[in-house]
């Protein structure tokens, strides 16, 4: 039984369509991440689920209920806002208790729940303080606590980590994951950060301009991106792209370089319908290897970015830029040449016009 289900949801702001025919189900207890660049409609969707905006078309179900016409207070969802939206005039205890008070829960019950959640999140010493006296990370926990105290059917998190510094973000990411595993409630999480999406999600929905690009598990999206957008969005550093022409039935011409590669058996059948056509070849930085002198394709080393255990090598293959992930021990020098080889098993092919995976 799906806990949250959206069917063909549309949203117009005036003449602008922010969400197009969006259909997705989140199962009970699933951590579903909506990810995409800014303006892709992900926050809009969260607000539609919460009831803060009304859908222009389509249906939203929470549990078995059609909630399209229900106001936010009747949907039994809890939301953590990007700005945390804590009530400035109330102390932390009152912030946490607010939702329960609205539901006329009795005072003892409220006290119990608030203290329970506060302890879980490690904020029990702040209960009598005001939000403005807390740090960013502490406020974020209070915001989460406010949502948790209400024990809703669905949690909605709107870019909760964007306002935190990098280190805190990584730490909070782990905590959110742990919390979710403990609570086992449906959590719909919105972010623009694909690393957050990959590490947190049970299921990811990649969005661009209001449309779903792909829905799947993190690994599915990583290994089998459905189109160019997903392929370039997921993975850091991004996938390398090259224009290729399928020549004859057995060769790939890398355009602009004049380099020709034989097509391995794995791809013969897939590429057969695309003779003499231009495709986009995608290859991830970790699927390109440095090889010894005289063995692979010659490249110029333009830039080396050391990131600790690894380096990112920015190369030019006959004028076409490539990024390669390599072990830091590799001795390459800027300005000099090197040799690379592709792991052809890990090629991705995309139609140059539709962007779709071939």
């Amino acid at each position: 039984m799906a806990q949250v289900r959206l069917e063909k949801v549309n949203k117009y702001f005036g003449n602008v369509q922010a969400v197009k025919d969006f259909s997705v189900s989140a199962y009970d207890g699933e951590l579903l991440v909506l990810v995409g660049p800014s303006g892709c409609g992900k926050s809009t969707l969260l607000r539609l689920i919460a009831g803060l905006d009304e859908v222009s078309g389509g249906e939203i179900y929470i549990g078995h209920r059609l909630v399209n016409y229900l106001p936010p207070k009747d949907r039994n969802v809890a939301m953590v806002f990007q700005s945390y939206a804590l009530y400035p005039h109330l102390n932390v205890y009152e912030n946490l208790a607010f939702g329960l008070r609205m539901r006329r829960v009795n005072r003892d019950e409220i006290e119990k729940k608030v203290e329970e959640v506060a302890e879980l999140l490690g904020i029990e010493q702040f209960l009598s303080r005001r939000p403005r006296e807390l740090s960013g990370g502490e406020r974020q926990r209070v915001a989460m606590g406010r949502a948790m105290v209400r024990d809703p059917d669905v949690f909605l998190f709107d870019e909760p980590l964007s306002n935190l510094d990098a280190k805190l973000r990584i730490q909070m990411r782990k905590e959110i994951k742990t919390l979710h595993q403990r609570l086992r409630k449906t959590l719909i999480y919105v972010t623009h950060d694909q690393i957050e999406a990959m590490t947190l999600a049970d299921c990811i929905v990649v969005l661009s301009k209001g449309e779903i690009q792909q829905t799947g598990t993190p690994l599915e999206l990583y290994h089998q991106p459905a189109n160019l957008f997903v392929a370039s969005f997921i993975g850091s550093p991004s996938m390398n792209f090259l224009e290729v022409v399928v020549e004859g039935g057995h060769r790939l011409l890398l355009r602009k370089t004049g380099i020709v590669l034989p097509i391995i058996k794995k791809w013969e059948e897939t590429l057969a319908p695309y003779k003499e056509r231009v495709l986009i070849l995608g290859i991830r930085p970790e699927d390109i290897f440095m090889v010894s002198e005289g063995q692979g394709l010659s490249v110029n080393v333009e830039l080396i970015e050391p990131v600790g255990a690894e380096n990112y090598f920015y190369l030019k293959l006959a004028g076409v830029p490539l990024v390669v992930r390599g072990v830091a021990k590799m001795t390459l020098e800027i300005g000099k040449t090197a040799q690379i080889s592709f792991n052809q098993e890990k090629f991705h092919f995309f139609d140059s016009q539709t962007g779709k995976r071939v």
Partner: protein, 275 residues
């Protein structure tokens, strides 16, 4: 001009200004404590040992000053409450909810403040007469509410707009109806704005003269400004009593200004200064 010269120039200016504004009050205030003889001395006497409360005595006992005070208080307080209530209800949607023609409504309220009283007072007088509301409190309170609504809305919209958008939505998700969200979250945070608007409206209602003159014609219903303007004097102007009445009329306001000066200024400049 060198900085020190500039400083002395401005300091002198300020001192001069302070005198210019303090001396008239002091003279008039002092007059309220002078006996009739000292008041009418020619040439005028500045200081006298013979200070008396006689003028106050007469003003209160014989001239219904207490009654005027009561009328002013009732009208001003109720008008303020009414205007704030309606102003909050109007400013909230204009500032934070989706309204078609929001700018039109704001312009509408603004134009009301530009109407000359003369153009309103005749018809309003007729309306009140038809309703039988001449010389009643509501006959004055309702027009005051109307006249101060633009001010209330103007100030409150600005205050409401400055509050973060999302806390309201957090309240909605937490289980509030929109009205409850207004009451429990927005209003407490907008309290300074409400307070500022209330002070300005109170001052306006307390000081208003034209409408009060025409709607409250029975002496028993006079508000303070009307009472002071029409202070009856048989042969000579009873300056002592007028001064006494003026002091009584202005003490609440002076206290208000001294204690709430910051609020008043923020309210006055809310519209004037862009920001």
């Amino acid at each position: 001009m060198s900085p020190t010269k500039k400083k002395t120039f401005f300091s002198c200016l300020i001192i001069g200004v302070v005198f210019l504004y303090l001396i008239p009050y002091m003279w008039f205030g002092l007059a309220s404590f002078k006996s009739q003889r000292t008041l009418t001395a020619i040439p005028p006497v500045i200081y006298t040992h013979q200070l008396t409360l006689h003028s106050y005595h007469v003003a209160f006992q014989q001239k219904d000053l207490l009654l005027y005070l009561k009328n002013s208080a009732i009208v001003a307080i109720l008008a303020t409450l009414g205007s704030i209530a309606l102003g909050v209800l109007a400013a909230y949607p204009l500032a934070r909810l989706k309204i078609r023609g929001k700018n039109l409504f704001l312009l509408l309220f603004l134009t009301v403040s530009m109407f000359p009283q003369m153009a309103l007072v005749g018809p309003i007088w007729r309306i009140m007469r038809t309703l039988g509301w001449l010389n009643t409190y509501q006959g004055l309170i309702f027009p005051y509410i109307t006249l101060t609504l633009p001010l209330a809305v103007w100030i409150l919209v600005r205050f409401f707009e400055q509050l973060p958008q999302e806390i309201e939505e957090a309240a909605l998700v937490d289980g509030c109806t929109p009205l409850k969200a207004l009451w429990k979250v927005i209003l407490p945070l907008a309290a300074p704005g409400v307070f500022t608007a209330a002070i300005l409206i109170f001052i306006y209602a307390w000081n208003e003269f034209f409408f009060a003159l025409l709607i409250m014609t029975y002496p028993a219903r006079h508000t303070l400004p009307v009472g002071i303007a029409l202070f009856p004097g048989e042969y000579t102007m009873p300056w002592g009593e007028i001064a006494a009445a003026s002091v009584v009329a202005t003490i609440p306001l002076i206290c208000l200004v001294l204690f709430c000066e910051r609020y008043i200024i923020s309210g006055l400049t809310a519209g004037a200064v862009k920001g």
